[in-house]
Amino acid sequence: MEGVPILEVRNISKRFGGVRALDRVNFAVMPNEIHALLGENGAGKSTLMKIISGAYQKDAGEILVNGRPVEITKPLDAIKLGIAIIYQDLNLIPDLTVAENIFFGRLPHRGLLHTIDVSRIREAARELLSEINADIDPAAVVGDLTVADRQLVAIARALSFKPRLLIMDEPTASLSDHEVRVLFDVMRKLKSENAGVVFISHHLDEIFEVADRVTVLRDGQYVGTKPITEVDRETVVHMMVGRRVDTLYPKVHEPDPEGDVVLEVEGLSLGRRLRDISFNLRRGEILGISGLVGAGRSELLQCIFGEISFTSGSIRLEGKEVRFSSPNEAVASGIALVPEDRGEEGLHLEMTVRENITLPHLKRFFDKLRINRDAEKEVSNSLIERLAIKTPDSEQLVAFLSGGNQQKVAIAKWLVSEPKVLMLDEPTKGVDVGAKSEIHRLMSQLASKGVGIIMVSSDLPEVLGMSDRVLVMSDGVITAEFTRAEATADRIMMAATSGGVA
């Protein structure tokens, strides 16, 4: 890797109040390179990328582009220097069309009234989209697209700037396998055009497949940069966590195959989105539900939880037929749901750890005409300890915790009293390796206490490692069921892509 880096940062530091987010970090991207940036949640990857793209200001350090020192004080500066970034949350405007989103901020006008030249941007958008093999109508409204398609629109938008350096912050989190391939092709094409790509991902497989070098950050500090050929998974994980992760999937408990059935779902349908779903869940069993994004897995959980009203079918909890018209009834019956999107749905980021944990159980703490705050603290503190949640105390705002610790709080709020059924939607999405194994250990522990667990996950190793039984969904139907012994990655992927034909 010779020559002048497209981008180099030296000794970058950044504080947020009392938290040191970055401490003298170095990082360089060469032309003709795909550079993976790794680190646990909270390691400082996103902060570093936001400084490079002008969204945040650095406190100290230098940024060099093509060997020249530059100041990047706003996003426009970065764009002018040929740096494009795709954020985790995509930053698209849902009410505008695909074409308008791609060219937003640079929409060409014509005529006296300065009307937007619609046909021109649609044509240009079509070209950009075809370059990345995306079959998306430029006239479609972004809000109507699937998450995966939105991701592709964001990529097209970034490419429209003809960047010399493209930064992608966890672009594959919501993509199916096929779309990940397309994305990798885009990255390789950029690379072949002598550009640089920075790729942030939690999926080590992807990184080993596509990256040329990796840089690892830990707790805001630079750990090191290595060519991918000189490292293996173990070394990388070790660099990230600074400790050996011995058992990634600690499965300690085998459920009784003759155990009591706690939840029975029979013939559940929701229009075209879910069709004739039937399964049982036993006490102490972890039931994994696998499938591609959009297969209807989250909708199934929401139907059981009373968040969505299903069209036909029945649900029995401990033998009694139930139909919840809203989540509060499900909660009262001992069903818990940890939703996929913890920031939007699972947590109150601007409330404290204690307030989040006790929210589903306020009645229990209402004693002598007031909420007993000491009792709340006691319960919160014991859960903080039990789940090893890293927080100064129970009065910390959840917004200040790292992703993994936030997820632990989102789970902890359902453990004040043990639920009968715990449903987890992507329980370790965007969670760092350490917290991930702790969450898995907790799931095993709960199962051994008799809690029935339904785990929706797109993470195949997680499904294989944690589930006693695996259901595979595709296109709104269950296409396969495997016991733990039968389940393999190949079989699950086959069933997941079988397109609704059982």
Binding site: P327, R370, P392, E395, L397
Partner: protein, 337 residues
């Protein structure tokens, strides 16, 4: 309840919150959050005292709290609504309609008891209409309460054919113009209502749920909070308190006019916002609203003492509201940066 929230709203709290937010330091932050409005109030009083020797007389101070008490009671209810992320534009009209109806009921029955109960029931029912529209009808709060605002005002005119109902006996006027010792009854009523509101918002599941809904409604729903029910309830509370304010109002001026309470919604919202409660919900406190109402009262009073033209007073109050919202917006921006 307030404690923790303040950590986030105050940009400087970020560091403290993460590094060593023990119970003590968050108490301190709670205090510092209330410090803004408190400081503003003290400065205003000192300035007013310097400009007018009359300001610090007992009778003038009592006059301020008396004048503030009706708006303060409405603002207490408004705080519940705004904390859920809603808004209630109908309070002024509810005051007007409830006022003429309770006056009519009193004239027909001669019963102070019935009139007092009616004021609360009518206010509560109008609030129920707001709440059901917002919660179950999914009408945006701004539109729902704007509609009820127009309807209630219209009904007040329909009922009275435009002319006020006047002259009531001392017993009915008790709520608005009696004194216990040297203290006006409306002031006592307002203080009791604020204590009750403070208790509900900080000590009960109802209060916690209201903050949770304002902070993230979907997460509150998925936590098993009956969000629809609580959203109705806050408008009912706002209506009941406004109904009671109507009773105070009629007692105070000894007349029920269909135009009564016009523009009160803006004063009440202003008191809430000046007190530091966020219009987007989830953040704020009833103590802040109390201070906000006093700040408005002191400004009005001082301008009166200085013989400032009533039209100019409007301009000043408007500027204060804008300044308060601006500060709220700035602290938000700091937080997200």
């Amino acid at each position: 309840m307030k404690t923790e929230r303040q950590v986030g709203i105050d940009g400087s709290g970020v560091g403290m919150g993460t590094a060593n937010a023990s119970g003590k330091s968050s108490k301190l932050l709670e205090f510092s959050k209330q410090l803004g409005p408190t400081f503003a109030l003290i400065v205003l009083c000192i300035v007013a005292g310097i400009l007018s020797p009359v300001f610090f007389t007992m009778s003038n101070l009592m006059n301020i709290v008396l004048q503030v008490s009706i708006i303060a009671v409405i603002a207490a209810g408004m705080t519940f609504v705004i904390l859920t992320g809603g808004i209630d534009l109908s309070v002024g009209s509810i005051l007007g309609l409830t006022g003429v109806l309770l006056a009519g009921i009193f004239k027909a029955t001669d019963s102070v008891f019935l009139a007092a109960v009616a004021s609360i029931v009518i206010g509560g029912l109008l609030g129920l209409v707001n709440g059901v529209l917002v919660s179950y009808g999914n009408v945006p709060p701004f539109c729902a309460t704007l509609g009820v605002m127009a309807m209630a005002r219209g009904l007040a005119f329909v009922y009275t054919k435009g002319s006020p109902i006047s002259s009531f006996p001392r017993q009915l006027r008790f709520f608005g113009s009696a004194y216990i010792g040297a203290v006006p009854v409306p002031v006592i009523e307002a203080i009791l209502i604020f204590i009750a509101a403070w208790y509900i918002l900080t000590k009960t599941p109802l209060g916690r749920s209201i903050y949770a809904i304002g902070s993230n409604e979907q997460a509150a729903r998925l936590s098993g909070i009956k969000t629809d029910f609580y959203k109705v309830l806050v408008y009912v509370i706002s209506g009941i308190l406004t109904g009671f304010a109507a009773l105070m109002f009629v007692g105070r001026i000894n007349s029920a006019h269909p135009l009564a309470g016009q523009g009160y919604e803006l004063d009440a919202i202003a008191a809430v916002v000046i007190g530091g409660t966020s219009l987007s919900g989830g953040q704020g406190s009833i103590a802040g609203t109390f201070l906000g109402a006093l700040i408005m009262g002191v400004i009005r009073n001082a301008l009166n003492l200085l013989n400032v033209d009533a039209y100019w007073q409007q301009v000043v109050i408007g500027a204060v509201i804008v300044a308060a919202v601006l500060m709220d917006w700035r602290s938000k921006k700091q937080r997200t940066a």
